[in-house]
Symmetry: C2
Subunit: 470 residues, 2 copies
């Protein structure tokens, strides 16, 4: 059983740390974007070095006080907010925000956990390189948070998720020891993959304090097309065709539904819409190529070949950077339009690419049987990652369907499981999806996870109740 | 303490399994390629299904009998041979050699652990796709072995190592439970990365029985150049230039030393050598491009730009597939030439790319102080992975320098550690490098590894003595 972060603990801790390291938690530390969980007033530690993080964790382990790591606060499953149980100490690494080194020859960047994703991207760009992780909250979220949640985003198809983009870590383990694992090596087979284990553990196995990240050559030229497809199955055939013709230069491949475009027309009428009539299904295809390739010509060739093959009925290839931005705005404003319309249920699921059409058909039919709901199904279809969001009937309100939320979530997640999919593709488990993990997780894997948690964090202090029930 | 795999255990086990599953170990099961370790006559289990593997592991856990997984037998650090301690049961999955499915639309292949790497490559090719893992022993080594050792090879620079090429696993955990984790998902953030943990654990945390593997579009065209560089530092600058001009199409970037070319001239005189006089340093650059790019033109442009920048003094771009094969033969015959000359010491090390020139200079100087040795430094320099092999003086024999082996290994590994490098880039730890791991491993990481091993394998039956001392 844990002890609360009380005055006695705080005064013992304060004696170990420079003045000002312990502060009252601010309102932002107690909120999360969905507004479903609320933290309680307490203290936040803002250490300035890995040694200070180590001192904090060691003291918390000794006194059995819970630690909740708080990064950019943008997580959507409440990994960063603990609403109940013994009051925890919050831990923010925002003062550890130094880029420790950029190594263009090595294609490596070493950054502390508190560096924002945007600042890391900019440091790479200043060295003529690309750090490809890219997501909506990149101005706020941090390297530590993106690694702890194994963030994804729009370029996973080409470059992989946060785990695949990380070569090494510096981290404080739950008993307070420091793992100096900031390697800049592409190959290192000397023991278990502690790096991969801490990444995606959502702060339950230790605190990531710095990381060495993979950089890439920057694509010299970009191209974007919006192609109208008759069905999700045609979208997947188009993805294969793109791979065969364009190769690994396909950076993003995003599905857009007619429902989503109609939502934008309704609630964001100022946006320029590329199509006069919203097609039921379209895809945004983005290429990043080297200087010797012409992405517009490649996209036009792909468009023509897809027309011949009956995979595409209409389409637009951006002729200018401004038009590219317009196309991307359609994709990027989807979340805002959804927010304004007011979803009953948002999902972040993945299924094997080949099972996507069957999943969409089955889920659409079952939801129709549940009520007159509207569905906006969109997202990173190139990664098998869909946001399958459910809305009230035209003119209805989400509040009127509060009771339907639970059954609809169960319906969608049961279908996802029946299609060999994941109930959380990008967002993680946090506290919001602990029940789903228990329901849908593989029992042998869950037992192994519990054994690992107990072995590395015997006092159970690291982010209590996240991922695994405390 | 473990019990030996004796007649009592074997008869209990035989009752659980189909006839013929338990067999006497064959000589190949008791040997390893370097001839440094020898197994003892005993039994090998050859199960035909994951359920049979589970029954074997469960019985071994109950009776505390060690299990040594044996895949293709090609490992170089004796992970597959246990020379001492209570006699173990060997476990071969060679009968589990079915490709369970190929999903070209998804770019996924699902293969059982006993499928050879070559068979997996061929199954991908038959579907018009590429499984890019490629190494010298690919005709013999298996998917299970390549994953358990996180194998690398010649295309890591572009496609990553075995861990990065795997989406999901089916595995039997050390208490006998089956983890059904054969997911075909690019994004799945539902709990700890057990996949990454089992990969590279060298059979000490469980038995991988099947895997879902990432496929890629096949490059339509290939090109290869041999470029003469004045120094390893110039080779690294050339790698950067290649990234900037050619992008991610650089598939391999291999360093070749003059010593290595002279060895080939001496012991493999029948080989065509591309250069009249062996240059001190050269690199093999390999490109795989889409149909719209001309790899020969790209390499010629790179050659010209590198000449202008003083990074290259001479070079050849292969004009035909036959010439490409000749260039690759120079690289691929390096191991055979080394074997015939007779190395005192072979290494498989990595250092950060930017520290390679300093490492080579320092190691060369220190080795020269130790004796009149010859050095063949070559390998996957694009990954920071070098084979830094030490040979007797001209006319000398390796036998005459047996006493020097230990001190030379210590000298090289100390320098690797001083350059933030790894004493085992590709080959793993096995039993041969347990002492190095204890000496050079991070203490916090080692403690975490021991805690994980004890938590998942409390009886210590899985590959006893490999990676961690039993």
């Amino acid at each position: 059983m844990l002890n609360p972060c009380d005055e006695g603990f705080l005064s013992r801790l304060a004696a170990l740390l420079p003045d000002g390291t312990l502060r009252p938690a601010e309102p932002r530390h107690l909120e999360e974007p969905r507004g479903l969980y609320r933290g309680r007033p307490g203290s936040v530690a803002m250490p300035g070095s890995v040694e200070e993080v180590s001192a904090i964790v060691r003291a918390a382990a000794a006194d059995r006080v819970g630690i909740v790591p708080w990064s950019g606060g943008t997580g959507l499953v409440s990994g960063q907010v603990m609403p109940e149980g013994p009051l925890p100490l919050l831990l923010s690494l925002q003062r550890m925000s130094r880029v420790r080194g950029v190594y263009p020859t090595e294609n490596v960047l070493v950054a502390e956990a508190g560096v924002t994703l945007l600042a890391a991207q900019q440091a790479a760009e200043a060295a003529g390189r690309l750090y490809p992780l890219s997501l909506a909250s990149e101005g706020t979220c941090t390297i530590g948070g993106t690694l702890s949640t194994n963030a994804g985003g729009v370029q996973v198809l080409r470059y992989g998720n946060a785990r695949e983009l990380c070569l090494g870590l510096e981290a404080v383990l739950p008993e307070g020891s420091v793992w100096h694992g900031l390697r800049r090596l592409r190959k290192d087979n000397t023991g278990y993959d502690l790096r991969g284990l801490l990444i995606g553990a959502e702060g339950t196995l230790g605190v990531i304090t710095a990381a060495s990240l993979k950089l890439f050559p920057r694509p010299a030229r970009h191209g974007t097309a919006l192609l109208v497809v008759p069905s999700p199955a045609a979208a997947l055939a188009l993805l294969s065709l793109a791979g065969e013709r364009v190769g690994t230069s396909v950076t993003a491949f995003e599905l857009i539904s007619g429902t989503g475009l109609r939502f934008q027309r309704q609630v964001l009428p100022q946006l320029r819409q590329p199509f006069a009539e919203p097609p039921d299904w379209s895809v945004l295809v983005d290429l990043g190529t080297e200087a010797d390739r012409d992405p517009v010509a490649l996209l036009e060739d792909l468009f023509a070949a897809a027309l011949d093959a009956g995979l595409v009925s209409d389409g637009l290839v951006a002729a200018s950077e401004a038009q590219r931005q317009d196309f991307w705005a359609v994709r990027e404003n989807m979340n805002e339009a959804n927010r304004r319309v007011g979803a009953i249920l948002s999902n972040d699921i993945s299924v094997p690419l080949g099972l996507i059409p069957g999943f969409i058909d089955a889920a659409t039919a079952e939801i129709a049987r549940s009520g007159p709901f509207r569905i906006n199904c969109f997202g990173h279809v190139g990664d098998g990652n869909l946001h399958f969001n459910i809305f009230p009937e035209e003119g209805g309100t989400r509040a009127a369907h509060d009771a339907a939320r639970g059954p609809l979530m169960r319906l969608v997640n049961d279908l996802v499981a029946a299609h060999d999919g994941s109930f959380s593709a990008e967002h993680g488990v946090g506290r919001a999806k602990v029940g789903e993990l228990e329901r849908y997780g593989d029992p042998a894997k869950l037992a192994a996870m519990r054994a690992i948690k107990a072995a590395l964090d015997p006092a159970g202090i690291m982010n209590p109740g996240a991922v695994l029930r405390g």
